[in-house]
Assembly symmetry: C2
Homo-oligomer: 121 residues x 2
């Protein structure tokens, strides 16, 4: 499918490219113009422009107008959403692990009381 209307997907897609990650990292330090963003890379301006469009489509950055410059701005809440998704799954995994851990502790506990019979060995 076209992946359209999938905000999270667009965000991770945007972050999948090293150039775009570098741009995001750069913008985390403050707004910057397209040429400023392009400077560190061995890439033509249209290339950078495309990357910025991908970032913009994901909502990760926004662009305003200031004379002939188009300063790019990191929209940190989109970064947050992506992090949140990851964190939820990390958490789900942890909880499930805790449950297993608890279960293991239970079945490995010497059968002092009337719970489950621990036939260990």
């Amino acid at each position: 499918m076209t992946m359209v209307e999938d905000r999270l997907g667009a965000t991770f897609t945007a972050l999948a490219d090293p150039t775009r990650r570098a741009i995001v990292a750069r913008l985390a330090a403050g707004d910057a113009t397209v040429n400023e963003l392009a400077a560190p890379f061995d890439m033509t301006l249209p290339g950078i422009s495309k990357h910025l469009k991908v970032l913009e489509r994901s909502g990760l950055i926004s662009r305003s107008r200031q004379a002939q410059f188009r300063p790019c701005h990191l929209e940190v809440q989109v970064l947050d959403s992506a992090m949140e998704w990851i964190d939820q799954n990390r958490r789900a995994w942890s909880e499930r692990f805790d449950k297993l851990d608890a279960h293991l502790r239970e079945i490995q506990r010497p059968a002092s009381r009337s719970r489950k019979a621990t036939s260990h060995g």
Copy 2:
């Protein structure tokens, strides 16, 4: 670029696809076989197999062997690395924002002067 040797890129690439995110979410609840993972999707098994390969290449999942089954396991630390990258940039942005905020407070001291207003979303 082949995106090879770019762990973080491979991770975000893996997370960019909704099917793969669903697989990750499913695995966060516990290990599962390929057919179990495939069940919820309207997709052929080779399709799922390809997705699993992408996930495996990124390190997000690992596969063991158990009879003729290949149970898939979420490698949560890779999820952590991705989250860490995002968090670092979030943090960098926050710190920079605090600085700007402090600066704004300073230049806006008593009797506001005719400094140009800086607007940031």
